[in-house]
Each structure stands twice: as structure tokens, then as C-alpha cells.
């Protein structure tokens, strides 16, 4: 969803005008816009009359919030011990090459955000990638780009 002041205000209006609402509003920004936009944090600071620095501190603290627009799909490449031994690095590199994207960033077309993560708890299927909620086990660097191409 595009970031508009009207939408920002609608989200801010869902909660009480108190400091306790900050995190809830930031989470809603993340859900609706797929990131926490600077305009949103500014507006929130103004409405609640709290320093922008406090809101920015929270925005950068939580892993669940992203200050950069995130892709439609999240690709998690497991870098845990088992996956690492089974060549997780080559898989991550294949994705980086195939979609011209660096780890922990988003593709130009905003379709994928690629993250390297630690053990996702499916070591028996190592190496593993997780696209949104789908687990793809025994991933191969030669196939992984084709798998991702199915996600639009």
C-alpha cells in the first residue's frame, strides 16, 4: 500500500494518543506499508507530542520493524550449522546473483526481501530456505532461482 498522509493518520487514529501506542502504531505501519516510513514516524511524533528521537529509537530497535520498504515475499536462507555444512552459502549467493540483491536487502522490483537467518528448526532437510510460510528443504543452488520465480 502506498504511503499517504490520510492512511498514516487513519492508522495513528486507531490508538489512544499516549506514548504506549507508539509500538502498536509502528507495527501497523509495518503491516500496511511493509515498512515504517519516515513520514509516519514524524507524524506520530507530532500527534503524540513526543520527541522524534524516541520514536526513531523504537523503530530501529525491533527486528520486526523495517525502515526500508520490504518485499512482497520474505526469503529466509538458513545459515545454521547444518545448513551451513550443506552449502547454504552457495544457495544465498545463487539468490543474490539471480535477483541482483544483497543479503538483508530487497530486490529492485520489491518482490523479495532476502534474509540470512539462523537455524529454522528443520535441519533434517538442510539446506533450507523459507519463503513466507513455505519451507523448501534440500535446496540446490542450481534450482533455487526457479523455485523463487514461482512467487509473484
Amino acid at each position: 500500500m502506498d504511503v499517504t498522509i490520510a492512511k498514516v493518520d487513519e492508522i495513528i487514529g486507531r490508538y489512544g494518543k499516549t506514548e504506549e501506542s507508539i509500538l502498536a502504531v509502528l507495527q501497523d505501519f509495518q503491516r500496511e506499508f511493509r515498512y515504517v516510513p519516515e513520514e509516519g514516524m514524524k507524524r506520530l511524533a507530532g500527534v503524540l507530542d513526543v520527541p522524534e528521537s524516541r520514536i526513531y529509537a523504537m523503530g530501529t530497535f525491533y527486528k520486526a520493524l523495517s525502515l526500508e520498504p520490504r518485499g512482497k515475499h520474505t526469503v529466509k536462507v538458513c545459515m545454521g550449522t547444518a545448513c551451513h555444512l550443506k552449502g547454504a552459502n552457495q544457495i544465498l549467493e545463487a539468490i543474490e546473483r539471480g535477483f541482483s540483491v544483497k543479503r538483508n536487502h530487497t530486490t529492485k522490483d520489491k518482490n523479495f526481501t532476502v534474509e540470512s537467518v539462523n537455524c529454522v528448526g528443520a535441519c533434517a532437510m538442510a539446506p533450507v530456505i523459507v519463503v513466507d510460510e513455505d519451507y523448501h528443504g534440500h535446496a540446490r543452488s542450481s534450482k533455487v532461482v526457479d523455485i523463487l520465480k514461482k512467487y509473484n
Partner: protein, 242 residues
Amino acid sequence: MKKVKIVINGKTVEGVQDQSVLSLARENGMYIPSLCYNAEVQSSGGSCRVCLVEVHQGKSMRVVTSCNYPVREGIEVKTDTEFVRKIRKGVLELLLCRAPESSEIKELAARDGITEPRFFTDGPDVHLKNCIACSLCTQVCEDVVGVSAISMVNRGREKQPAAPYMKASNACIGCGACAYACPTGAIEMTDTPDARTIWGKTFEMQKCSVCSTPFIPKEQAEWIIKTTGKDRAFFEKCPTHR
């Protein structure tokens, strides 16, 4: 103010209940290293952990940060035992990993015999160079200056003070209090005859109408006028010509 007696390094000294062990030790001429504590800043201390001391009470002993440990009747403090030195050595080794180029950290570490940390060190792109993430600067900005222009952002290794969105701050008044307070001189502030630059923002300086020496950023003077009601004429002359 209740007076109490405690023992520090075998010497009986008198202090005020609840003052910090660190301040009482210093009043009595005893050295305890410190970085993140500033007596003028209520919320400061407890973060760098270089001020560790042993506190004995009856049979129990605890290692505590002396900058925020309250003086109470009957405690016995030891500031420089083998055990304290050993733990502080570990603390300084980690601080040296975080700020390997800071002369303040290097000096403290060297006193405890560390010149090279055994662990990997943070490069200049991980966080503000020389910053040990103690939060003193942001506490000064919020609690003493009252503008909250900067805050601690990110977390873990990347934790550091910054202005919102990593851009020049709207709220900053250019007072420089954060830079003066920083124990490792990590905050860059440059003064030229006309302007001061800090946190990516440049401030025009107010010049003295007598000697034309620049002495305060105009925005800071405006802030003081606005918050204290001080007379504008007060800021026409520098402190020496008032």
C-alpha cells in the same frame, strides 16, 4: 541528609546515606575508574562497568558498579582487589573490541595490562567510531538540555547515538553538551569562527557586540530565551563583556 560511616580500603570514612560509593571514594582521594557516570546527570551510570568494586556486608560479598551503588551504614568497600582487577580486565577487553582506537579506552585497558584484545574488533562501519554505547550523551540531551535531539538507535553491536533518520536533526540546538559529556570523545563537533557543526547540522554563531567573539549558537540562545524567559539583550555580549 543522614550521615553514615563506611569503610573503604580499610579506612573509615563518613558520607551521606544513598550517595554513590564512587563519589564518596573520590571525595576521600581514592581512585576508581569511570566512563559513563557524570555527577551532573541523574540518570547516568551503570552501563560501562569499569567502576566495579567489592562490597562486603557481614559474610556476603558482591561486585557492584560503584557509580550507582548507594552508601549504607556498615558496608565495607574494596576498590582494588585481585578479583576486581580480574573482572575489570574482562570488561576493558570487551570495550577495547568495541572501540579499538579510543585513546581513553586504550589507556584504561593498558593500566590493567591489556594492549590487544583477543577477540575481533569492530570496524569503523559498525557504529559511531570510538563510541562504547554508554548512553551518557542521549541522557544529557534528554535530561539536562531537555531537547531529546538524539537517542540510542539500533541494537547489539550496532547500537549507537544518532539523530532521527540518521539525518541532521530538527530538534538539535547545537549546544554541544553531548560532545562534552562523551567519555571517549566520539561525537564530532567542529567550530569555525562563524559556525558550529554537530550531528550533521551547521549552526550560525552569535557574536559578542563588543569583541565579536562567537560564543553561542543562535538556536541555543533562542532556546534559552524561550524556555527560561531570559532577556534577549543578555545574549548580545559574551560572558567576559557582560
